[in-house]
Amino acid sequence: MSVKKFMYVNRKAPYGTIYALESLEVVLIGAAFEQDVSLAFVDDGVYQLMKGQDTSEVGMKNFSPTYNALGDYDVNKLYVEKESLEERGLTVDDLMPLTYEDENDDYKEKPSIRVVTSEELSAIMDEQDVVLSF
């Protein structure tokens, strides 16, 4: 079976709705099928990657540490739209410093988050075989 390019598009903030958590669950399940997986974070989806999330006072599960595990499942292309960050007064420094070990480069630790412009993301989306929206 040939490897297909799968992209998960995340456009919702965490906690306010169940979309962000459900997307993460599906990504982890899908990772078992060894496809070429990437994630896109646009609009309020960029808030899913905010660092320092602490849900202890709201009685909900803090699922943000799970994004750290994605690298171990060979999910290491997390595209964050620059324009979405800017509209929200955010920079990449406000996001979790997610990394993966590159097996093709002596297992060097490299950042998983790649900030891309709308134009660049548009081209990456165009290359996909399957796009799943959350």
Partner: protein, 102 residues
Amino acid sequence: MAMLHTINKSPFERNSLDSCLRLARDGGSVLLIEDGVYAATKGTKVADKVTAAMGRMKFYVLGPDMKARGISEDKILDGIQVVDYGGFVDLVAEHDNVQSWL
């Protein structure tokens, strides 16, 4: 009559903030909760209209909902007061009525 307005939706995804600011009378208060807390942060495309509305209404943001979303107090616009759950109860008690902008 002093009204407490609560907003629980992101200002980037819904128009709850806009509708509230358009229809709320001067002298009332706005409490940003859940995904509404994003409206309280600095440097966003809605920050100017929130700041402008502070001249006629008091603004509050719920601390536990900020913390859940990784928003620290230094990211909150000047003039917005952070409250905890007890503060939420006090605001409800101090106002004549509550209107939820869902």
